[in-house]
Subunit: 131 residues, 4 copies
Amino acid sequence: MPESNELTKPSPSRLVDVDGLARALSAFARERNWEQFHSPKNLVMALTGEVGELSELFQWMTEADSRVACSDPQRAQAVGDELADVLLYLVRLADVLGVDLNAAAVHKLETNAANYPVAKARGSSKKYTEI
Amino acid sequence: MPESNELTKPSPSRLVDVDGLARALSAFARERNWEQFHSPKNLVMALTGEVGELSELFQWMTEADSRVACSDPQRAQAVGDELADVLLYLVRLADVLGVDLNAAAVHKLETNAANYPVAKARGSSKKYTEI
Amino acid sequence: MPESNELTKPSPSRLVDVDGLARALSAFARERNWEQFHSPKNLVMALTGEVGELSELFQWMTEADSRVACSDPQRAQAVGDELADVLLYLVRLADVLGVDLNAAAVHKLETNAANYPVAKARGSSKKYTEI
Amino acid sequence: MPESNELTKPSPSRLVDVDGLARALSAFARERNWEQFHSPKNLVMALTGEVGELSELFQWMTEADSRVACSDPQRAQAVGDELADVLLYLVRLADVLGVDLNAAAVHKLETNAANYPVAKARGSSKKYTEI
């Protein structure tokens, strides 16, 4: 029965839904007359800045410490804020570019599955061009 | 009537839904025994790499050119792929950290609204600490 | 006469000299027992953080504004500080990795000259793989 | 005796000398009519791209592995190339901005020494605002 299949297995075309955030950010920018600043080029730089801040939170942690970074409530808040900043600029950037992030993610997952077959990629951190 | 309100105004608690993608990425990593590599520290570095690739696509464009970057189908594909790469690592990172990206985005939008009141921020690209 | 040649044409083996800074940073780290934190991996993340801060200074500027960014003394100071931060981590990183930055720069200039012959690259911002 | 002093203690005003590289890069750009592309804003994005490539080399390494990354000749070459790319864009950026990297580095070292006194910073990776 295809119907039950559709219920139990999520459609690959619904991996993410960022429409609500895209609309909220668009309204936020429009109200402040910020559309003039939100060129894709500028937004890529703003995204870079936020990834830099995220990187600063983790730069001196060991990998082991990074795995429990959010066990401390204060740090969890800081990490969540930086992740949100990255997400906000990413969604805004995709929106002004007219890119459908869900379709892009679906396509990329398919590419990754083709590039990294389980048999070859298992337990290896090598790039697909090297496996 | 709260009901009609709920219909016309999207709840702020549903800005993004990335659960499907998070599950797909978790399964992808588990099948390949990649969980050992996916420490938050490593994933932040991988995210940095993808933002670098995105930056390379836009580095020599003028702002005006960047606004129409996706009018060329080949470049639209390249841009979509890089945006997807950023999204994939961001969602994976939030997942291994146990961060709820929707809650983090909601919180950040509230902070931004407080930091950038329309009356003060209108038409200005200054940081909130300077306005 | 090789002597006059040496006077008029700078030797390619002396493009940069960062030894003084490398020594100063090494002593700075040793005095503070920071060598434990200065793994190349961590230093790459610290470098990322500083490039992010640099990016934040320029993200909302037009290209034209960026060309005169240092005409304002206060901004010149901020820009100089961020450039220095990037330089410090880059030199420290090369030092702990045992990479000779001058030799690496000489080699890279030669590669670039081969990849971008004047006749083909003139006036074009395309990557060498596309020209 | 000032002479012996000059021999044993390097002058703080000569931490780095990047003039040769700056001149080489300026000539390289001028010959290719690339000055039009080399706005500081664009160069910051190019620098971001190179730091991203550097990050990709280290993203899946453990810290311990990163410390010996250059013991493998092929990887040493790849790492040296990426470090050189970062250096080239950094020096070019400082040059078009008119920033004296040596003076900026001297100033930053002084700031760091004031922010991180040995007694307080010893063995700690905390930011100066937290110690």
